[in-house]
Amino acid sequence: MEASSHYQVKLEVFQGPLDLLLFLIRKKKIKIHDIPMATITREYLDYLNQKDRINLDREAEFLLVAALLIYIKSQMLLPREKPLEEEKDPRQILVDRLLDYERMKAASGLLKEKEEEEMQRWKRTALPAVFSEDEMEYTEVSLFDLAESFFALMKRKETAEIKTIKGQEYSLEEKMKEILDHLEEEDFLDFLDHFNRQESFEEALVAFLGLLELIKARIVTAVQETHFRPIKVWIRKKNVKSS
């Protein structure tokens, strides 16, 4: 009884099923390349049985691995005329995944050390880019305001010049990337400027949809000081002062 409760506590620190699997393998002092399926599967199912309450989201991930284990086990049990070749061993799927996982774990440990080191160095880049207080008081622009400005702008352009429509296709991703690239270089993107730069209505429309996608994904935010002031697009920062 004692052992099982201790077991549970330890499991709290696991990030996912692969973590648990690695732990089980380590606990049994088994080499990853040589996994006894029966033992691991039993341990794994035992773990699932031990849980009296089920968090569906989390358990679904665990069940996926349980299913994989059982699949591999069934493959191993099937009688075959010829013994399987080395690389066709069904356990190989699991071994590859675990090795990849273990490597990623090690890499994240390494990044953690690096982070710790860098935390102690204060760089000029750590200074927040000239953010004055009044700039922080921008209010977010609603979707309707954005659409309205966009179409007003397009209308103005339409009357200014007549252009033939070229049969060129614009990709949403490219337009999104354009906005993000701009924001990587500059602190903000001027809404009007950006759409004035677009060559055709189609291009501007795709760029506008791209902007909406980015806003929806909460990667950027469109802000305005007050009405009738320029709309600016910013990269969304959780907390400018904390990083």
Binding site: G16, K29, R103, S108, K177, E184
Partner: protein, 187 residues
């Protein structure tokens, strides 16, 4: 003249809010030839190794930047009235290493590698600009693909993504760790 060049470069690095690349320095100092500039930078870096100053010039994300010495950390935090800086969560670190070693990579691939759904973590990393969208994969559903950003390099003090140990080196480190684990007495 050479001394002045060193000073000019120092002031350029000081004024830059991002790691200043050699190319940018060369682009500004058009009246000097490349060899002179490179030599001046090396000399400038040397002066920071030997002199008794609280700051130094380091290389990160492919450029040069000013940094305080790590051993002064506690006093700087006192000045800025900060208890500690926010660290990345282990989920964020894992996701970053998955991206760093497998880029360009999709969300589904990251989740498969980690064995858990990573959409929330990835979103946070995009917000922190440690990862970036680089396009879409030409496969069913055209999922977005991600890479680590310049800021990722700067954040971890890496000059280049190749500064990370290669997968082979990583495996070697792991093997050594496993051996030492086996050697250690068990309870």
């Amino acid at each position: 003249m050479e001394n002045r060049l060193k000073e000019i470069i120092e002031s350029l690095i000081f004024m830059s809010l991002e790691p200043l690349t050699l190319e940018k320095i060369k682009g500004v100092l058009t009246e000097f030839n490349e060899r002179e500039i490179e030599q001046a930078i090396n000399e400038l870096l040397e002066t920071f190794v030997t002199n008794e100053r609280g700051i130094q010039i380091i290389q990160a994300a492919g450029g040069y930047l000013f940094s305080t010495k790590p051993e002064h950390d506690s006093w700087i935090k006192r000045l800025l009235k900060l208890e500690r800086k926010n660290r990345l969560s282990s989920a964020a670190l894992e996701t970053l290493s998955a991206i760093a070693y497998h880029q360009p990579i999709t969300l589904a691939e990251i989740s498969a590698l980690r064995g858990v759904d990573s959409s929330h973590t990835l979103k946070t990393l995009l917000q922190k600009r440690l990862a970036k969208i680089v396009g879409r994969k030409k496969s069913p559903g055209n999922p977005l693909i991600y890479r680590t950003s310049e800021k990722f390099l700067a954040y971890f003090g890496l000059n280049n993504i190749k500064d990370l140990p290669s997968p082979e080196e990583m495996s070697k480190i792991l093997e050594e760790e496993n051996i030492s684990e086996e050697d250690s007495p068990t309870q």
